[in-house]
Assembly symmetry: D2
């Protein structure tokens, strides 16, 4: 019974949009390359914040850059949330009603909204 | 007249806690090394997000990591805001009442609160 | 064709958990009475903020109260989001794949995350 | 000694822009009437959310309204923060350097940024 529940959870973690193995919970993000580049740019922006502090740049200029990084991260989060809803969540709902996956989705939205 | 205003602005951007030149708006953050290390850790966390996407990790795990990065960035922002208030803003208020600097401070807080 | 799309949209807006008419997009929230009471308490908290300003209460005390109102609103938003995902979104996905409804869901999450 | 600290704190809570008694920590907000009206509108908006739930309105429409209430609250918070910085904080800095008041300010900003 407990095992069955675990299997349902594993199945729920798979993604309709891609050829993934539920056991490993692997999900290839659609347009993965573009998403990777987007996060790489954010990595560069954080490096920019680091340089600004090292170069004694004006506080407000650093804070403006931090605000931009936060916005960029929110953009990536919404993109991954969207992929997750279109993929994993949709699949789980079709397969088993998706109760667990929807609960998990709301948990992460709660963290991101704060 | 306009020049005088500009000079007031420059003076306001200097920091009481450090030996800086107002003309260049340079502000050395107190405990700069610790702050730099903190941002370097955030850079590493963003690199972690990047790897998770490349390795096809589960969407919700990636989003949890993004949420952690946002919290860490907020922590750094509050620290720099605090330095700015204790340093630049305090000095400007003592020198010229600080009207400009307070306006600027509120502008960046508005961005960070959103 | 356009009419068919509109009908799909209407259907998507209905809720599995309740007996609603899709044409009117009416959705009775589960545990509606508890939710109404929760929002009524928030209304009271906002009235509290109003009184604090009228009674010249200390700025930081008012801001603390505003912060509490925002948290309470986030709690209600997450609850309604959860109802929406468990109800309307799940139903739409089962009926027509739910593409429109998922897009709409992400739009509102984007606004709430900001 | 402890008493002296308390007195410093009380003094710090007074507002330069208005005729207030530090002992009572009373601060009349500048443009108080406009601010009260703004909060009254927010109270009305929360009442609107309440009605929408009672009338079984569509989840996403309710969430859009909640998002608008949050934005309006942020606007009021920034206004009061601005009054506080221009008034109480500025005065405290001029009087005693303002260490306590700046610490308190950062505490509330941290809560509002989250």
């Amino acid at each position: 019974m407990a095992k069955k529940k675990r299997q349902a959870k594993k199945a729920a973690a798979a993604c309709v949009q891609c050829d993934v193995q539920p056991e490993t919970k692997k999900v290839e993000q659609p347009h993965k390359k573009a998403l990777v580049n987007r996060v790489r740019r954010i990595e560069g922006q954080v490096g920019g914040v680091l340089n600004m502090i090292e170069e004694d740049r004006y506080c407000v200029d650093i804070l403006t850059q931090i605000s931009a990084v936060k916005s960029a991260l929110d953009g990536v989060a919404v993109k991954i949330l969207s992929n997750h809803a279109q993929g994993c969540v949709r699949k789980a709902i079709m397969e088993d009603g998706g109760e667990d996956v929807i609960g998990e989705l709301l948990g992460i939205i709660r963290k991101l909204i704060r």
